[in-house]
Structures are given as C-alpha cells and as structure tokens.
Symmetry: C2
Subunit: 94 residues, 2 copies
DNA sequence: AGATCAATATTGGATGTCCGATAAATATAT
DNA sequence: ATATATTTATCGGACATCCAATATTGATCT
C-alpha cells in the first residue's frame, strides 16, 4: 500500500505544526517505520511548491488555507472510498 | 492517492464473491470512476497468481484462505495507520 | 445463425511513489 | 570553539500503480 504519504503529511500538520523530523517520527508511530529523508523532504518541497503548506524561519511547517481546502477535499474522498472502514477494523480484530 | 486497489479488491471479495465487471462497478460506487480494464484484469491475475483469490468456471472470484489472512493483516495495518479516520470524517463534514 | 453488446485479456507505456546514498546545514554538548 | 549528533536537502534510480488501446471471448437478442 502506497500513496498516502502526502495525504498524511497534510493531516498531521492540520493537527499540529511540526518540522520534517517530527513528521517522520509521527509516521513511525503510525506505521512502524520512518520515511526515508529522500522521501519526506522532497514531499514537503512539493507541497510547499503547491502552496498547501508553508515554512517559517525555524523550518516548522503549517497548513495554508489552500492546504486546508485540499485536505478537506481529500478527507471527503478518502472517507467515501473507505466508507466501511469500521467493518475493516472489526474484521482485523477477529 | 493510489495504491489501494488491490486492498479494496480483497475487501470487496470478502464481502461478496463477484466477477471482474462487478468489482469494477463496486469501485465506481466508492470513488466515482471505474478502473480501466487494463487495471482491473491484470490486478486480478496477479492476485490469482499469489493465490489470494480463486476463480471458478464462470469467472467469479472468491477469497482463498491465504487471501483472508492477507486481508486481515492488511486491515490491521490500514487501521493502525489511519487510526484517527473518524476525525477525518468529521473534519471533512465541517 | 448472425448481429450486437458486455466482459475479459493483454500489451506497452506514462506517471507516481518511495528509497538509499551522499552532502550540507543546523543544533547540542563538551 | 570544536566535536558530535541531528536535521535538512538533493540526486538518481527502482519499482509500483494505473491507464488507453486493442483484441478476444462470451453472452444475449432477433
């Protein structure tokens, strides 16, 4: 399963602003492994290029307004596709 | 967002056995568009090669036992990564 | 049976996604 | 201030993911 990195970066930053290393640790909590530096930093750069996130002097990232809209839209999409995620959760615990 | 196709095929087949066209329509319900034939059939072939699904004479697919185990494991992983999916759902409805 | 439509299969390729290696910048400790 | 560790940045490339186009097979109708 791939493809959720960008989405989760936005989601993570929505909950709390952080720098790259902190985001990486957040990923480690979620899935067990940190993304490689060659993954996370280019991803952040791309998000910044698209103005979905912004960086302050101390390299802390925040969601922009555009980023919020994008995230909301992505959440909507995600929840539609996985509308039955609760069943998945139960199933995995059988 | 990519990478969830195989996972959702397994999940869909867990809920009910179907043929390729029916699986495609199930995807259409979830995300709005059907996967291309060049996507769904090679994916099914690969899953069959890995013995996660099986096909009967009428080309109806079912989860194998191995497929069930794999799916359960994938669900576990998925739910761990997206443990806060309910928040996402609420956020998308704000 | 012949025509028509739906379903399946295959190929080649475009793009996405991510990593490892390496280097530079920055922070921390001694 | 110097050494050490952490964080950030960049490059090239491996592999995954998916599609459009095309061909074939199978079902359905007249």
């Amino acid at each position: 399963m791939k493809g959720y990195l960008t989405f989760l970066i936005l989601w993570t930053l929505k909950k709390s602003e952080m720098n790259g290393a902190e985001i990486s640790r957040e990923f480690e909590k979620r899935r067990g492994t940190k993304p490689s530096p060659g993954t996370i930093y280019p991803a952040l750069k791309e998000l910044r290029k698209n103005e979905l996130i912004a960086m302050d002097k101390s390299k802390t990232y925040v969601l922009t307004e555009k980023g919020e809209l994008e995230l909301k839209s992505a959440c909507k999409f995600f929840c539609k596709i996985f509308y039955d995620v609760n069943e998945m959760s139960h199933y995995s615990q059988e």
